[in-house]
Symmetry: C2
Subunit: 373 residues, 2 copies
């Protein structure tokens, strides 16, 4: 497990010998634990739960717990009393995904059959597998329905899959900065990032000690990914062509431009909190997500959903471009579903889903109001 | 030297003990050779020469020589009798840049001081250095003026620098798919590509045998770069989300999507024809090019130019976006220079400058006509 952990993290066994977990790829996991955190209280008729699903490198720590102000949640502004996901009204649940490295069973876990870490023997996990594992968690928590499922990026894919897989369980789906299927350009970026990891000799075909991982490859993978999270506009305003140390060129190969320094920092920071094999599994899950392929068409995928949708895209997000948000809206309307679309004019690129709190609150709060009794 | 070479390649010593080459970074090269090819004939008053400057991984082989039809030039459609750079009228010259690995002196060359390859002891080369070396070549060839200098991408940077450095020598400048300074996003992509090379243990701080280079790192660097050469649109139409072998997902880590297979192929092909250290030098030259920084402002850079400019940008080129073309046009107009701007509605991304022959001919041919006597 990576990084500093909240003391509010809980662990739920959602599969065991008597009730193993069947993955979409056909393999069986006979022991699955999900790490999760909750915020607020489940009401008596169990009708106020919201599930938040995390992105690629996220975890269960979506909000900041009042007694741990130093451990800020990845959506710390979004979750809390009076915030858009108002914990004085809603019971908010967030779990680390199946296949993750933040407490849930994944490639870094011990394989009960061998007593050794799974590494690459862990089954390929899909977005559907993540959602099915979350459903087991909610069943065990006694949550009988969800007011909403929401998340950004890979979290948005899970939200979409929730609406499709469990139509009677979910009142609202809020997919943010996401798509029903990644573009070939997105697959290409995932592939070169994976290649950065597997090129590192320390990766050793996935069999590295957790205390001596392929940090160079993992850092590079994160640097590549990070470029796609920012927009050209935000890079201009954050870094421009400024240099770190000198106005004069140094005429040598070193970290010289601010943007290089920033990426270097982000890459190294990431290796302290994330696992290299898990990077491979998460990106593969993202690449594979394809509602059109899975259901024959987006219309077919959406025709049985019963949730109301609020779809949010950001104008400078070139990894999950706005045309993908509009495609979802069209398909949902074609299937005669209730859908609201918000195209937010942010300059922050894909990262906007973590940062544009005010603009997102402005559309999410009124949307959620209809579900408050 | 890399790849199959034309028998028409020639070599010119442009610096020696008696006339060494001073680089912009302050180091001196006491032996410089440029590899070059020519097409057509220089007329008697030496007034029909066009210099074509190549991009990042290009070379002197811009056109296809009639007796070598199998060795297609990188602008094979553009150079020849009746083509846009019409060799029945113009004398076309193209040289491998200083610092390159296609016959000109660069990091793979032998350092006369040590008898060993320069590798990273080669000085950092700038676009200005490349242009100054080309000027020496033209002087030695007896070319006393240029009808035009043209090139795409890094070649466009050289064309711009030509217009600025040698205002009395150049009648026309045609910078294509280029900029007066790379965006921070572009620098970021260059940096992660360089990192892919230096992360490869075989790179060995630049000291690898040329017959056992860091192919994994170099291939990955090219894969990263290649993504930036294509547009999201062209990736959709070339690959979509198609798989190589099976309509079903394979549920393992392998080359599975068409786009992955394409990048893998491009990456490996590149390692047969290009040098890893040279990749570092060329990307650094691109990162450093900054007319605004060098001259205080674009207005200052352009105020002494005398050439007429034709600037060409492509609508889906996100590496050298059209706003950069427009910035050049504005600055040239502010400096009261004659400038024509063509924004070509191609879907092919940055690679369009190698592919959009008909659209480019449509603007370049009428522009060049004014210089024919």
């Amino acid at each position: 497990m990576f990084g500093q952990r909240s003391k509010h993290i809980r662990y739920m066994t959602i599969a065991d010998e008597t009730d193993p977990f069947q993955t979409e790829c056909g393999k069986t996991l006979r022991e699955v634990v999900l790490a999760y955190e909750t915020y607020g209280r489940l009401n008596e008729d169990m009708s106020n739960a919201i599930l938040i699903t995390h992105a690629f490198s996220g975890d269960s720590h979506v909000g900041t717990h009042p007694d741990e102000p130093e451990l800020r949640g990845w959506w710390g502004d979004f979750v809390g009393p009076g915030r858009v996901f108002d914990t004085s009204k809603f019971f908010v649940i967030c779990s680390n995904v199946l296949g993750g490295c933040m407490g849930s069973t994944g490639p870094t876990s011990i394989n009960p059959d061998t007593g050794k870490p799974y590494n690459l023997s862990f089954p390929i996990i899909t977005i559907t597998d993540m959602v099915n594992a979350q459903k087991r968690l909610l069943d065990r928590l006694g949550v009988s329905s969800l007011v909403a499922v929401t998340g950004g990026s890979m979290g948005g894919m899970q939200a979409l899959q929730w609406g499709v897989s469990y139509p009677d369980y979910v009142k609202a789906v809020i997919p943010i900065a996401t798509t029903t299927r990644l573009s070939p350009q997105g697959i290409a970026f995932n592939e070169v990032a994976r290649r950065a990891i597997v090129n590192d000799p320390k990766w050793n075909n996935g069999n590295y000690p957790l205390d001596d991982p392929p940090v160079k490859g993992l850092a590079l993978a994160r640097m590549i990914a990070h470029i796609t999270y920012l927009s050209n506009e935000s890079m201009h305003s954050k870094f421009g062509r400024e240099r770190v140390n000198s106005d004069k060129y140094l005429y040598k190969f070193c970290t010289e431009f601010e943007v290089e320094s920033y990426l270097d920092y982000q890459g190294h920071k990431f290796t302290k909190r994330f696992d290299a094999n898990t990077f491979l599994y998460m990106t593969k899950a993202i690449d594979y997500f394809d509602l059109e392929k899975a259901y024959g068409s987006l219309y077919n995928a959406f025709k049985s959903v019963r949730a109301k949708f609020l779809i949010i895209s950001f104008e400078t997000d070139w990894l999950y471009p706005i045309y993908q948000g509009k495609e979802m809206v069209s398909a949902l309307r074609q299937a005669e579903k209730e859908v609201t679309y918000a195209q937010i004019p942010s300059t922050l690129g894909h990262d906007a889903f973590l940062l544009e709190y005010k603009n997102m609150k402005g559309v999410i709060s009124p949307f959620l109001e209809q579900f408050l009794e």
